[in-house]
Amino acid sequence: MGAVFAAMMRREMALAWRGRTDVLLALSFFVVVVCLFPFGIGPEANQLRAIAPGVVWVTALLASLLALPRLFEHDLRDGTLEQLLLSPEPAVVWVLAKVTVHWLVTGVPVALFAPLLAGLYDLQPEVLPLLAGTLLLGTPTLTLVGAIGAALTLGVRSGAVLLALLVLPLAVPVLIFGAGAVEAALGGVSYTAHLALLGAGGLAAVALAPWACVAALRLAVS
């Protein structure tokens, strides 16, 4: 089982490296959209500081959504997915490996870039590590829940838009606790409860989402 997980990780990493423009595209989307808000709202520093955690979090959510359709699409098109599902290895293992790599190449870069961009919003430097931390803690849940949506809409016409409609309402709790932790820190309130809830959500998603994802994948290829 560990060998399957490792082999799938290696394969996905190699694929991600060869298609690295895709990864950069999601990241650039994140950067551009975050930079877009001041144009719509105005350059008033106090206002920007107030909306910074929310803007960064919402944009991270959208960037994660943008990359999701690719998660299973290639494998469906060239038949790999069918072979993987036919293999005697437990499907949950390789699905988890795929999702992990997807998070490593989409979620982690966004989390690492977020403090830089929050600097543009004049966010206090003390909360920047917390912002990155909440993103690191919250984006796995987004990827896992998103993977269910990606599997459900796999091969469906206008699947990408459908995916957004399915996943975004389910992502609201993560958004609330992620952005809420930073805002609590800014307000001088304890934010450990937010982090605990984010982590709990992540653990629940790791435990449950791969099963739903596998069920949806089996439907997609049947």
Partner: protein, 278 residues
Amino acid sequence: MMGNDRGMDATPGRRQRWRQGIEARQRAPRSLWRFAAPQQFYPLAGRLAPWFAASAALLTVLGLYLAFFVAPTDAQQGEVYRIIFLHVPAAWMSMFLYLVMAFWGIVGWVLNTRLSFMMAHALAPTGAIWCFIALWTGALWGRPTWGTYWVWDARLTSQLLLMFLYLGYLALTRAIEDPRRADRAGALLAIVGSINVPIIYFSVQWWNTLHQGASVSLTRAPSMATVMLVTMLIMAFAAWFYSIAVALWRVRTIILERERHTDWVAAELDRLAARERG
């Protein structure tokens, strides 16, 4: 139990009893399981739906009479509070029907019964409509009492997200062309959504209290007069029966559409056409 008895040391008498049991079950006219077959359920739904519709109509007339002519004017809100008799049942039904949908989804996945998925399909539009009515009447009620159509109150927000969940279900099941996949994918989504509904509700509640002290709260209503409560319950039952009736009629249409390749549907369609010609 029976499976263990079979073969091993089953005496002829036991085996015979076992066989008789199986045959009796196959013949059993009273077993509810036979209604899991669309062909059996179709006429049953046709017989039940008018009764539920009639009860719904009767209760609505009674409920509206009580709501407009018997229930006293509210001391704080005046006449406008009467929208509660539509608003609250609609909100209840929208939440309840989503859970029923998820329930049929689970039944379908576990027992592999097509009819369960069809029931989930049939319930979704009704649930979405209740959700919309709850939001709409809430906005109309909010304007005169709170001075605004919308506040980001925890209940309003989670109701809005429930609306999105319904839309997601409807969009997904209609976008997938293969009915088998559409059924199961929709059921999976409904199950995932129903796990999320309480999480969304509590997170939204917490979010709301974090941002601002709730300036307007729906829970401040003082203890209701009994007649108001009774009226609301009557309206809730009316909404309930209406939902059942509409779902049954809708599931009949779905059955006809799905089973159109079978002989009995062809015969049924001929019968319907003949009746229409008079």
